[in-house]
Structures are given as structure tokens and as C-alpha cells.
Symmetry: C2
Subunit: 148 residues, 2 copies
């Protein structure tokens, strides 16, 4: 169910894109950091250790293409930079975030009610939905405990 390098090779061939070591390492970075929401700069820093030769511009270009090919999903938390996460098969469809207005923590959660809402919207608005993104803002238990 998860993405691997074989997928990458296959999908790239289809689209005539070249499988370069840079692109593989960038995708690998996401595979190795499943739970994180990495910005271009984050990916660049993580890669510096093993591949100090890779350029930031290449990271940007690769993130864009990996998103177009469906390997990654872009998310905006409103902090001025785009972040990406691995589009893991089925669940790629639902990435919901709980954003704490106090400490800025980003928690994840999965759900199923979304399916209901989605079909409702699709029917009501005559709009073919292919993906969705939900963000809930509020206060996490930690902060509530601390501030009460």
C-alpha cells in the first residue's frame, strides 16, 4: 500500500521522466519521514548530510513533479512555506490536520465521516471531487491542560 522506488521507476518511465539519483533521494526522504510535513528547505537540509551536492532548486523542481505525479501531497499551514507529505495509496485521499492555535502543533487524524460529506457535496454542487483537505483549528489537550 505504500509507495516505493519501483513505483517511481514505473511511473517515471510512463511519463518519459528520467530517474535521477536526486529524485530518488528526495522521494526516499519522504519514505523515511512518513509522519512529517516537510518543506523544501527541510528536505534540502536532510539531504545535506549524505548528498551535499544536491541543489535547493532541484529540490523545488522535484517536489513539484512528484506532486504532479501523485507521489506527494502539498499542504499549506499558513506559515509562509509549502509542505509536502507522502501520498500513501488509499489514505492519500484523506489528510486532516488538527492545528493548535496556542503551540502550533499539527496533529493528524483519519476518519470516515468524510466520505459521507464528500458524496453529499459532490451531489449538491455538481463538482467532481478528486481530493480534499480539512483543517481544524483549536486547542490541543496539552495546551488546554497548561492554560486552564
Amino acid at each position: 500500500m505504500s509507495i516505493d522506488m519501483a513505483d517511481l521507476r514505473r511511473r517515471f518511465r510512463e511519463k518519459q521522466y528520467k530517474v535521477t539519483p536526486q529524485r530518488q533521494k528526495i522521494l526516499q526522504t519522504f519514505i523515511d519521514n512518513q509522519e512529517k510535513h516537510l518543506s523544501a528547505e527541510d528536505v534540502y537540509s536532510l539531504l545535506q548530510v549524505d548528498s551535499p551536492d544536491i541543489g535547493l532548486a532541484t529540490v523545488y523542481r522535484s517536489l513539484e513533479m512528484l506532486e504532479k505525479l501523485g507521489f506527494l501531497h502539498r499542504i499549506e499551514f499558513g506559515d509562509g512555506k509549502s509542505r509536502y507529505e507522502l501520498a500513501t495509496g488509499d489514505s492519500s485521499h484523506a489528510h486532516h490536520h488538527l492545528i493548535c492555535l496556542s503551540c502550533g502543533a499539527v496533529l493528524e487524524f483519519g476518519d470516515d465521516l468524510m466520505e459521507t460529506l464528500e458524496s453529499f457535496v459532490s451531489r449538491t454542487a455538481d463538482f467532481e471531487i478528486t481530493d480534499h483537505q480539512v483543517k481544524f483549528y483549536g486547542y490541543c489537550s496539552e495546551c488546554r491542560k497548561r492554560d486552564e
Copy 2:
């Protein structure tokens, strides 16, 4: 149910903020453009006509404070710039967008199922939800008609 200048005056007094003509005009711009999602640059341009003396930095600073006070909501469509919309009383709580991946159109829709989802999440994740934002990506009827 909608926000007006009297609200602004009242809320500003509470927080010791000054009611300047610039701030009033910026809020007025949103009142006059209810259905739009305005970026800082958009607001600045709209104001140039009647108030060419207002600075872009002031627009940025005002948008930030108006959001903090709850007059505006910030939304990110992933196009590199932040946008704002009037936080209209109750319904401020729900701003859902249908974003067409083909033409980029942003349609709005309101719903009630969200309430259900919200209470579910709140219970499951021990997170006090104060606001949420939902984005559905897909294809609008126009584009589907054209491209089929």
C-alpha cells in the same frame, strides 16, 4: 449578523487599538466585497482609487490585526499569497471551498454535516475545535462539460 463599523469601534476600544481611517477603509473593502477572497495586494489596489495615500505595509499590518480580532479569516489556496474573507458572524465558522484543478475556479458551499464530523473529531482526538477549513479539489461542471 454581519459585521459593521460599530463593531469595529467597539472591539478596537476594548483592545486599546486606534480606529484609524486606514483600518476602517480596509474593513470596509471587505464589507463591499463579501463574496471575494482578497489578497493584501488586492485590497491595496482597490483602495488606490479613493485613498492613493495608503501604504501596502499598512494593509498587511491591518489584515493581521483584523484577523486576530476575528473580523477576517485567512485562507490559503496554495497560489503563494494569503487571502482573507469577512468572518460573517455564525457562518464564519464554516468556509468550505471547491477548487477546480482545471480552471482554478473557487466555488463556495455551506453545509451542516460538518457539525457532525467536528463533534466526532473533538471527542476522538481530545482537541477543542474553534474553527475549521475544508477544501475539496476536483473538477467543476463547466470544465467537465468542456473537456469530456
